[in-house]
């Protein structure tokens, strides 16, 4: 069976002056999967993710996301994706409802649909009492969950999550991953970067980056078998050990 490819990357290179952030990356992401992008800090994960989501232009190589070329049609890509950044980026001085309304409006959703989704979403997150609170008053975990909900509000084809669980407690992380599963279950492809190795176990497939290159790419089980390791963490340490 041929799986539907929603992201195709071939020979992607991104240079900042002399520094090569992404060195000849090639990979594919299939529809509906949870694709984990692992790597140490500075390995080039965020750079690649920004290129895939149309925020940054590739230096060379071919990048197709949701059927559109990242070099020529970044705005078309943006219509089809959701994005949540490691640095929390909902408007802190707006309430949860106002944020939802804003992004719903930006994605061209109708007023009634926005209202419907808002209710649905607040109910699902047990968020009702927080709806009219400013984002700045919410605890980090709630903010992150809300940000994910807003990122998929318009039912995109793919959602990009850049270290979404950074600084969040283990219980909230767990809940957050449940939300990710649910998102994937709805048919939205999830592309997630992380440096928490336990989270990598939850992914359908993972790629491990080191020094701008992809050094391994497969299912967690297969990688563990190949490297004769008990956990993804062990795999990671075996192959991506930073140079001394």
């Amino acid at each position: 069976m041929m799986k539907n490819r929603v992201i195709i990357v071939r020979n992607l290179v991104k240079r900042f002056g002399k520094f090569i952030a992404n060195d000849n990356l090639s990979f594919e992401v299939y529809e509906g999967e949870i694709f984990g992008f692992l790597g140490a800090n500075g390995a080039g994960k965020t750079t690649a993710l920004r290129i895939l989501s149309g925020l940054s232009e590739p230096t060379s190589g071919e990048v197709i996301v949701a059927g559109f070329d990242a070099k020529k049609q970044p705005e078309q890509i943006k219509k089809n994706i959701g994005y949540m950044c490691q640095k929390f980026s909902l408007y802190e001085d707006l309430t949860a409802k106002e944020n939802i309304m804003l992004y719903g409006g930006i994605y061209g959703m109708s007023k009634t649909l926005i209202k419907e989704r808002t209710d649905e979403l607040l109910d699902k997150l047990n968020f009702r009492e927080y709806g009219d609170r400013l984002i700045s008053d919410l605890p980090l975990g709630l903010k992150q969950k809300l940000a994910l909900s807003v990122a998929v509000l318009h039912e995109p084809k793919i959602v990009f999550l850049d270290e979404p669980t950074g600084g969040v407690d283990p219980i909230t992380r767990r809940q957050f991953w449940e939300m990710i599963y649910e998102t994937a279950y709805r048919g939205i492809t999830v592309f997630v970067t992380t440096h928490y190795m336990d989270e990598a176990e939850y992914c359908d497939r993972i790629s491990i980056m080191s020094d701008g290159k992809i050094v391994a790419l497969d299912t967690p089980a297969e990688l563990k078998r190949q490297y004769n390791a008990k956990s993804v963490e062990e795999v990671f340490i075996k192959i991506a050990r930073p140079k001394p």
Partner: protein
């Protein structure tokens, strides 16, 4: 279009949620009008005079009396020592030293020209020239009196002289407040447009929320327009506030059309907002933005003709003012408010403002990058 409305709504929510900004929007124009309009004046009263009367004659006494009688001069010091007088000038105790030599009375009495020497503190060239002009006026009157006395009744009619009667149009009483107020209104509108809008965009960069906007399919011009509209509205509200204060407090005359004034200010605001947002696309911190914005604002204001007449600036400066939106607004405000100019009289200025507004806005939209 709907997207713009959602974005504008968001901007307004944020502006009014910021307690400081929402208060400042009302407070700043009030303070500016009440403070600047009466404070900035070129009128000079009570020029401090130091007299060195070496003559002590009836004639010199008469001249001094005449000076004392004028509203412009106040005789602060009287001395016989030139050194002491210079010292007073040096210590900024007097503005003008008038020296009457000892032969003054004799010369005047015998029909020879009487001579006096006036030394004027010209650190401020404008006040120096004005002092000189006032002094000259007093001396002219004095001269006339001498002529009349010496010639006797018979000859008066035979002295040929030209008598000028003047009228000051558009500001009959030469009230500086009337001259400054339209200008201050311009500054008020500029401050709102230039500082608030630019800082707003740079703040989104600093906080990182702009990233979230950039990854959505929002169109660039939607985003820029949504950043402009709230401050355009606030600017016009502040203009109304300024006008109301002007009317109540200073009873400023308003000869022209209110609608025309608002139209010109609206176009001007778009120009300034366009430039502000253009600059903010270059700046990554609010500090950077403020530094550059301040630089532009000072240049625009000082070269706008608010304090110094455009006509007295050097040619290159006048040419620069072709791209200075403030220069147009200054002219329009004064012409509409004091002269009652109609749209036909100021159409050239309006066209120029429209072009500047379109160009700056175009720059802002095209410089704003959603994909780096």
């Amino acid at each position: 279009m709907r997207t713009i409305l959602y974005l504008i709504r968001k901007e307004f929510l944020q502006i009014f949620r910021d307690k400081f900004i929402s208060k400042a929007i009302i407070g700043v124009p009030i303070v500016q009008m009440l403070l600047l309009v009466p404070a900035i004046t070129f009128e000079i009263k009570d020029i401090r005079l130091c007299v060195i009367d070496m003559d002590i004659s009836a004639d010199s006494r008469a001249l001094i009396n005449q000076l004392e009688g004028s509203t412009f001069f106040k005789i602060k010091y009287s001395t016989f020592s030139e050194e002491k007088a210079n010292n007073l000038m040096h210590r900024n105790k007097c503005d003008v030293v008038l020296q009457i030599p000892s032969e003054f009375g004799k010369n005047v009495g015998t029909g020879n020209p009487g001579k006096v020497l006036a030394t004027i503190n010209a650190i401020n060239a404008t006040t120096a020239q004005l002092s000189w002009a006032y002094l000259n006026g007093v001396l002219r009157d004095y001269n006339k009196n001498i002529l009349l006395e010496n010639a006797g009744d018979m000859a008066v009619s035979s002295i040929p002289q030209i008598d000028i009667t003047n009228r000051y149009w558009y500001n009959e009483l030469l009230n500086y407040k009337y001259y400054m107020l339209p200008g201050i209104l311009g500054i008020l509108v500029t401050a709102i447009g230039f500082l608030l809008a630019g800082l707003n965009l740079v703040k989104e960069k600093e906080v990182g929320t702009i990233e979230q906007i950039n990854v959505t399919p929002v169109r660039k011009y939607h985003f820029i327009i949504a950043k402009m509209v709230p401050f355009l509205i606030i600017g016009l509200v502040d203009l109304s506030l300024g006008l109301i204060i002007g009317k109540i407090t200073f009873n400023i005359p308003f000869e022209g059309s209110l609608g025309l004034l608002f139209l010109a200010s609206a176009i001007f605001l778009v120009a300034v907002l366009g430039l502000a947002l253009f600059i903010s696309t270059f700046s990554s911190t609010q500090q950077q933005y403020m530094f550059v914005a301040f630089f532009f604002m000072i240049i625009f204001i000082l070269m706008s003709g608010i304090f110094t007449p455009l006509e007295s600036m050097p040619m290159w400066a006048q040419r620069f003012d072709i791209v200075n939106p403030m220069a147009y607004l200054m002219r329009i405000n004064r012409m509409v408010m004091l002269k009652g100019s109609t749209i036909h009289d100021i159409s050239r200025d309006i066209y120029a403002l429209v072009i500047i507004a379109v160009v700056f806005t175009f720059f802002a939209v095209s410089r704003y990058r959603k994909t780096a």
